[in-house]
């Protein structure tokens, strides 16, 4: 029974809970048990809120009994990335800086989940302040990939994706600034979606890079991701950059895709994302996916987006610039860590000692790069130029989408690498986000859906599908059709 519950999809669990076949408390407890059993090895969670989760589950069960209308995912458990504020529940953002901080308010995403009866199991591990591609930058130790515990689960949202792969939760929330939802999804064999920028409120998302950060759904199936997408998306007057438009019909699109017919859908293969630096097994898995999409009736051709070659450097100017400003507030004055306040030191000294002790090396590196890039005399050459590249990338997308409904590429150039392998080589680490960054810079939606396992190392590979802004449903339809055609590819033996 427990085994069935943790293997089930969110859609299946919701149906069972709502029909009374199983209680949300049973489902929640099964997942809490699974976490207790496996998280010693995986370390997906920074904080498990068993009490809060069971209380939520009991409420849903009572609502079901009372025949009150419940939302589609009510009673289903979820793992929440520790970047989202949760009232009264620790929110560390993977940093020592916020150790012990209890936020006085819920993020909009948190509130929407609670309002929908989604049971929040706890907060998942992440690279500190979402800066990283391996979750090794967490101040609380790395998360291990359930497919191979010696390997990284991707990052920054490695905790959320590993929790899905380890069957600790059927749903998770991630945030994606340069690939932090999609790349972990790819290397853990799970689905991860970065919605259109502004599609999901950022209120309560602890900012890394405001113009790039976007929260999104993570799941093991495309339909589950779509169901979660519709719970968390929508206009929020607390976020000036959220879009006041109807949520794209992603659930309907996923269901349509499950019919397995992609006749007439025009798909462009981005030629920039192949060749040198790409693992052969990843490219073979991608080619197999292209063939399957053709069999489903899609029309496929190559498309060149030359500006994408400059996406990585542009990203590593814009994101650090914004982060250098966003992270300035961590100064020991109002919340979080305070170091050296023994009555002999000045405010500036306490601020400085706290930031020295509270931030990890990657965070410091990016604060320094960003501070430099925004400095007077350098602004135009760095931040200014990067913004121009951003415009060019947006134009490349627009040109490509004039011909194609969606674009595809591998999600990431390689499968999961070994823990420690790239820890001292930031450039190698940054390249993990090569294919995912353009969509962040353009604000367009993109997702990763598993394309099976690489034939050389038996590790999961991701297929990235990209769509125009506010056309999130297009990629869900393609992903769902592909997922059905692809079939099962096994799971980690944990």
């Amino acid at each position: 029974m427990t085994n069935d519950l943790i293997h089930a999809t969110a859609a299946e669990l919701a149906a069972k809970i709502h029909s009374g076949e199983v209680s949300s408390v049973e489902v929640t407890q099964a997942h809490l048990d699974r976490i207790a059993e496996t998280d010693q090895a995986v370390h997906a969670f920074l904080h498990v809120d068993a009490e809060g989760a069971l209380a939520q589950a009991r409420q849903v069960d009572a609502d079901v009994k009372a025949g009150k209308v419940v939302s589609p995912l009510a009673g289903v458990p979820l793992a929440l990335k520790d970047v989202m504020t949760t009232e009264g529940v620790p929110t560390t953002v993977g940093s020592k800086m916020l150790e012990g901080w209890l936020p006085p308010y819920d993020a909009t995403v948190t509130r929407k989940l609670k309002d929908a009866g989604v049971v929040i199991l706890g907060k998942t591990n992440m690279d500190e302040f979402a800066m990283g591609s391996s979750t090794e930058n967490s101040a609380y130790g790395p998360t291990h990939n359930p497919w191979d515990l010696d390997r990284i689960p991707g990052g920054s949202g490695g905790g959320s994706s590993a929790a899905l792969a380890a069957l600790q939760a059927p749903l998770a929330i991630g945030t994606d600034t340069g690939g932090s939802i999609r790349q972990p999804g790819a290397v853990t064999g799970t689905v991860g979606v970065k919605p259109t920028y502004g599609g999901v409120s950022r209120y309560g998302l602890v900012a890394f890079s405001s113009s790039l950060d976007q929260a999104g759904p993570c799941a093991r199936t495309v339909l589950d991701a779509a169901l979660l997408h519709e719970v968390i998306a929508g206009y929020d007057e607390m976020d000036s950059t959220s879009i006041n438009e109807p949520v794209p019909p992603v659930v309907a699109a996923a269901r349509e895709g499950l019919n397995g017919d992609l006749t007439g859908v025009r798909i462009g293969v981005v030629t920039q994302f192949s060749g040198e630096g790409y693992q052969p097994g990843v490219l073979r898995s991608f080619q197999a996916a292209v063939s399957q999409l053709k069999e489903l009736g899609a029309e496929i051709a190559d498309v060149s987006c030359p500006s994408f070659d400059y996406a990585l450097p542009a990203y590593y100017l814009i994101a650090p610039s914004e982060c250098s400003s966003n992270l300035a507030r961590f100064d020991a004055m109002r919340y979080g860590l305070r170091v050296g306040d023994d009555g002999t030191r000045s405010t500036e000294e306490v601020m400085s000692l706290t930031r020295e002790a509270g931030f990890g090396p990657e965070v410091k590196r990016r604060i320094m790069i960003g501070t430099y890039a925004l400095s007077s005399g350098y602004y135009d050459a760095y931040y200014g130029s990067a913004q121009k590249v951003r415009t060019l990338i947006t134009q490349d997308f627009q040109k490509a989408f004039a011909t194609f409904d969606v674009l595809i590429s591998p999600t990431t150039p390689t499968t999961a690498f070994k823990i420690g392998e790239r820890a001292n080589d930031p450039m190698a680490m940054y390249k993990a986000d090569l294919c995912t960054i353009p969509a962040n810079l353009a604000g367009t939606p993109a997702m990763s859906v598993p394309s099976g396992l690489s034939d050389e190392d038996g590790l999961p590979v991701g297929l990235q599908i990209m769509a125009p802004a506010l056309q999130d449903h297009r990629m869900y339809r393609v992903a769902a059709a592909y997922e059905a055609a692809r079939g099962a590819f096994g799971g980690p033996s944990l």
């Binding site: 989202m84 504020t85 929110t91 953002v93 916020l98 901080w101 936020p103 006085p104 308010y105 993020a107 950022r202 209120y203 309560g204 998302l205 602890v206 900012a207 890079s209 405001s210 113009s211 007057e237 607390m238 976020d239 000036s240 950059t241 610039s321 914004e322 250098s324 400003s325 300035a328 507030r329 961590f330 100064d331 004055m333 109002r334 919340y335 405010t347 500036e348 601020m351 501070t371 925004l374 400095s375 007077s376 602004y379 931040y383």
Partner: protein, 500 residues
């Protein structure tokens, strides 16, 4: 810590140097809520009660622009004859300070909402100087630090500091002039006159409380001296903490004499922020700027651009009230005032008060008489500006009304005003509490008159003999006996009747 500062004689300063002014005025808008969140915008609340995740800069919080503040900014821009941007953005000004929750101030940088304007400023002698406005932009206020311990209340030497974030996020408009050269001897006066004119303008727009004493209007005065011999621009200082109109004038004058002394002894003026000290009338160095501050401005990514439609701007132009200078011109004509009289009223800060008193029902002559004589004396005695006297034009109008109705004599009216100034309440409450009543009961007056006549039989006889002017002595005695509460005219009538 006392250090002697050398000052040059003012006449000598003017002989050798041309002062160049630049004025930055920060105005707190009195919108209901703060600039980027829904917290109440109130002065004087319990510390840290008007706060929320956004104005405390908590992780994850986001700003949302207050539309009313944008509207006020545009109206201010229009009143200052500025162009209004068709598209502009907020920018982050990055620097660390404990009372700034995010360690950046959300402000505007190279895309201000209003720019290229001017304000005509009338000096005491009636000369009009046009001050060019560089820009007016929107930003948020910081919190307040209270430094505890130490002698000066400033951060140096303090034992610890308390932080109050009630003010954090209050909407501010910063109005910056272009360089104001060529004012010579009158530079200090020009500075004061500009801030005065701006204050009156903002008051007329009803966008701010414009209370310098409460910090809702703050002026930073930039001063530099250009040697007459070379004409080269000098290094400027920026004087902060200038909390009254008078201080603006004093601070500029002090800086001119101080900088001149530094320059003439072969020294260099340090580019720095200086603090004005109200009691000594001097300035002293504040935060040292060892290197030029680099605020690393960049467009605020948490906010979307503001693009006020031309229709909206024109609609707002239509909401501009009669502006102070228009009002003055109208009043001068309506009341038939000479240029000199009008100027005296303006210089005494009395005109707006008189107008308001007239609007509350008094006649212009009566209102003028109260404000320029008795109330002006009271302000002078207390060392405050006329508008800061704790009495409203409506209250003055009520006192005048009571006099005209015969309920108060002039003497009693002054006592009523004294009561209002002493905080005893409205004129009617003071009249009630102090028992200020004209004795108009004829039988009481007749009794007092009879007693006075009996006490001075020779005077009584003179009156009976037709020497009407002798009645004054009896009236005076009655007034004395009734402690001034009698209506002197009525007393006189009774005296004459008794003696006929």
């Amino acid at each position: 810590m006392t250090s002697l500062v050398e000052l040059m004689d003012y006449d000598e300063v003017i002989e050798k140097y041309d002062p160049v002014l630049g004025l930055e005025v920060h105005v707190e808008l009195h919108t209901n809520t703060k600039m980027f969140c829904g917290c109440a915008n109130e002065f004087g609340g319990e510390p840290n009660t008007n706060t929320c995740p956004t104005c405390l800069g908590l992780p994850g919080s986001l700003p949302v622009v207050n539309g009313k503040a944008v509207e006020s900014a545009i109206r201010i821009g229009l009143a200052l004859n500025c162009e209004i941007a068709e598209w502009c953005r907020f920018a982050r000004k990055n620097y660390f300070y404990p009372d700034m929750p995010k360690n950046f101030q959300t402000s505007q940088y190279d895309e201000p909402i209003a720019f290229n304007g001017w304000l005509d400023v009338t000096l005491d002698d009636g000369e009009v100087i046009r001050v060019e406005i560089e820009r007016a932009h929107m930003e948020e206020d910081t919190g307040k630090s209270l430094h505890v311990g130490g002698a000066t209340g400033r951060i140096h030497g303090a034992e610890h500091s308390l932080l109050d974030y009630n003010r954090a996020g209050v909407p501010l408009i910063e109005i910056v002039t272009k360089m104001i050269p060529g004012t010579g001897r009158r530079a200090p006066e020009v500075a004061r006159a500009y801030v005065t004119a701006l204050r009156d303008l903002l008051k007329a727009l009803d966008v701010s409380d414009v209370r310098m004493d409460q910090g809702s209007l703050r002026c930073d005065a930039n001063v530099s001296l250009s040697p007459k011999t070379t004409g080269a621009l000098g290094t400027r200082t920026e004087t902060k903490n200038v909390n009254s109109l008078r201080s603006v004038e004093r601070a500029v004058r002090f800086e001119m004499t101080r900088q001149a002394a530094v320059l003439s002894s072969g020294g260099e003026v340090t580019q720095e922020t200086r603090h004005f000290d109200e009691s000594s009338g001097s300035t002293s160095p504040g935060r040292k700027k060892e290197t030029a501050e680099d605020y690393r401005y960049f467009p605020e990514p948490d906010l979307v651009p503001i693009a006020p439609s031309r229709e909206w701007v024109e609609q707002l132009r239509g909401t501009l009230p009669e502006l102070p200078w228009e009002r003055r011109a109208r009043i001068q004509k309506e009341w038939n005032l000479t240029d000199e009289v009008l100027r005296d009223l303006v210089n005494a800060n009395a005109l707006d008060l008189i107008i308001a008193t007239v609007e509350a029902g008094a006649k212009p002559d009566e209102a003028r008489s109260w404000w320029v004589s008795y109330l002006a004396q009271q302000a002078n005695t207390r060392g405050v500006d006329l508008p800061d006297l704790p009495i409203t034009p409506a209250q003055v109008a009520r006192v005048i009304e009571l006099v005209n109705a015969g309920a108060l004599t002039n003497k009693l009216a002054r006592e009523a005003v004294n009561g209002v100034l002493a905080g005893e309440g409205s004129p009617d409450e003071v009249v009630e509490k102090r028992g200020l009543k004209v004795v108009s009961d004829d039988s009481a007056l007749e009794k007092a008159v009879d007693e006075a006549l009996a006490a001075q039989p020779d005077v009584a006889q003179k009156i009976r003999d037709g020497k009407v002017q002798a009645a004054g002595a009896i009236v005076g005695a009655v007034m004395k006996a009734t402690k001034g509460q009698a209506d002197a005219a009525r007393v006189r009538e009774i005296v004459l009747a008794r003696c006929s």
